[in-house]
């Protein structure tokens, strides 16, 4: 028992070291100037995509509720944080918290009425709500309507991005590996049976929706404070589809898959920028090929965890 405890401490320490090392490595490369401008943008997009994919996977993959309105929550987070930091000149951390909370509230307001719908109907309803958020933003003069807000202070930096992405992954992994997580997964598996096992399915669906929305809001905050400008059109349903593609490609119900797919899609989009005309064709072809040969996504519902590593390790021995 004692030995087991020591071992888990050791692997915990190892994980922290790996995470910090990765962080320092990139930070060093950035300060020395090894990473040029376009790669930097790529790096930022990657972290934002990871936050988005992992949080959407909580709703679409684990809870099994197909939501197409994730970009809407991202917009709420982005706008609220910009109002806080740029208009009211509050510190960045307040902007982050404010953006997350506002997106969470939006998630609650949208989740309560829509989550009684199932499947396609829920997808359409969330899609519509996502668009409503965008249209509302277009008509608020305080945030310059369709023109959007320009000249946002660049506050997003590599440490913020890296650690918020890590926190997102940690929170969702911890949530899913618990009794609450099992309750959430049981909704996807069989809603009737889950309800009859004493689980308040509505409550957990809304909970998953709120947590997912909060992290989408976080991604919005990071996005707004890096790219200088936000417009309502930035958060159209096309962006929501991008996120759904990442989640499905990675494997519904796999956080590891969501991370891998987010990285993959980011690099794919980046790599295809040179072939502007052929870009969407190649992009679509890759998706079609993956879906034909691996319909469950890259990872299925499997995860890469300590267990996997220890299995590989003992296998080698």
């Amino acid at each position: 028992m004692q030995e087991k405890k020591n071992k888990s401490w050791l692997s915990f320490l190892l994980e922290v070291i790996v995470l910090v090392a990765l962080f320092t490595l990139v930070q060093y490369a950035l300060t020395v100037g090894l990473i040029n401008q376009s790669y930097q943008i790529n790096l930022v997009t990657m972290c934002i995509n990871i936050i988005l994919a992992v949080s959407l996977n909580l709703i679409n993959g684990f809870t099994g509720q197909l939501s197409l309105g994730h970009a809407g929550f991202m917009a709420v987070g982005a706008y609220v944080s910009v109002i806080l930091t740029n208009f009211m000149e509050m510190p960045f951390i307040i902007g982050i918290l404010g953006g997350c909370i506002a997106a969470g509230i939006a998630g609650f307001i949208i989740g309560v009425p829509t989550l009684r719908l199932k499947g396609d109907y829920l997808a359409i309803a969330t899609l519509a709500f996502g668009e409503i958020i965008r249209v509302v933003l277009q008509n608020i003069d305080y945030v310059n309507g369709p023109a959007g807000i320009v000249g946002i202070t660049k506050l997003t930096s590599w440490p913020w991005l890296y650690w918020t992405a890590i926190i997102t992954i940690l929170v969702i992994v911890n949530l899913m590996n618990s009794s609450y997580g099992r309750a959430i997964i049981s909704i996807r598996e069989d809603e009737v049976a889950s309800e009859l096992m004493g689980i308040n399915t509505t409550k957990y669906k809304v909970l998953a929706f709120i947590i997912g929305a909060m992290f989408a809001g976080l991604a919005g905050v990071m996005y707004a404070h890096y790219f200088y400008i936000i417009k309502p059109d930035t958060f159209s349903f096309l962006r929501s589809f991008d996120m759904v593609v990442m989640v499905v490609l990675g494997g519904l119900g796999s956080t590891t898959g969501a991370v891998i797919a987010a990285i993959f899609i980011t690099f794919l989009t980046f790599g295809l920028q040179k072939y502007a005309a052929m870009r969407m064709v190649i992009y679509s072809l890759i998706l079609i090929i993956v879906m034909i040969y691996r319909p469950q996504g890259l990872m299925g519902s499997k995860e890469l965890s300590r267990k996997t590593f220890s299995r590989i390790w003992s296998g080698k021995k």
Partner: protein, 257 residues
């Protein structure tokens, strides 16, 4: 003590009465059978008791409280657990996770301690794991704890479903055709299991079954439904010789002479 008392339960679907003025009275620790031809409304009664459907009229008094129209998860918390005619396990989850989910209704740690991994979380998880294993051991499924539920053979899936239902710590267990798809040998084993569960877990059991050997073998009293109406109730012996029941199953005698 009356554990379950149903008075004048009524449910119709689009004008068609599925359950018409149904009455039942179950004492604690009784083993009751509910039988009737296909489409008689037996499963509808179960769905009404467990809250899957809301009754149009009538009372369902469980443990002194009217539970008619309550949400299924609240009814479960009051102490009613069930299995399904067509097995409804959480198919893609492991055997042990299926049972663990049943313990969620009285989870001991908060959401916050889950996310930041406080000691309360580890303690709670350990308890859940131990309790879940205990139930698996009782049903001889502990060697398959990490297998995916849908990979289990049929009989074991049935057992797992019963284990999962019992893990919610009910005072009343409702079994919807537990012997469906089982061979005579398996059915005999199931009979023993049902009797033993009632003894060991101290609960009442209400079951629907088409296999008459099982019903007559284990049930203390039997209720018979036909076209949504109760046509008979009594001891197995009485039901076996009840004219109405025989008619419902085999049809009326033609050309009485």
């Amino acid at each position: 003590m009356n554990l379950l008392e149903i008075n004048n339960l009524y449910k119709s679907f689009g004008g068609l009465g599925a359950v018409i003025n149904f009455n039942i009275l179950i004492q604690s620790q009784e083993l009751i059978g509910l039988i009737g031809p296909n489409g008689a409304g037996k499963t509808t009664v179960f769905n009404l008791i467990t809250g899957v459907y809301k009754p149009d009229k009538g009372q369902i008094i469980f443990n002194g409280k009217n539970i008619a129209g309550m949400a299924p998860y609240n009814i479960c918390k009051k102490g009613v657990a069930r299995t399904f005619q067509n097995i409804r396990l959480f198919k893609d989850l492991s055997v042990i996770d299926n049972v663990k989910i049943a313990f969620h209704k009285d989870v001991s740690y908060s959401l916050a301690s889950t996310i930041i991994r406080l000691p309360a979380f580890f303690q709670g998880e350990k308890n859940i794991e131990e309790k879940a294993l205990e139930y698996l051991r009782i049903f001889k499924l502990d060697t398959k704890r990490d297998e995916i539920a849908s990979n289990l053979p049929y009989g074991e899936q049935r057992r797992l479903e019963i284990a999962r239902a019992l893990a919610t710590q009910p005072t009343m267990l409702i079994l919807d055709e537990p012997a469906a798809g089982m061979n005579p040998q398996e059915t005999r084993e199931l009979m023993e299991l049902i009797k033993w569960i009632r003894q060991d877990f101290n609960l009442s059991i209400l079951l629907i079954e088409h296999d008459m050997s099982l019903v007559m073998g284990v049930c203390e009293r039997i209720y018979v439904l036909d076209y949504g109406q109760l046509i008979a109730e009594g001891l197995p012996e009485e039901i076996r010789n009840n004219k109405k029941v025989i008619e419902a199953y085999l049809g009326e005698e033609v050309g009485k002479c």
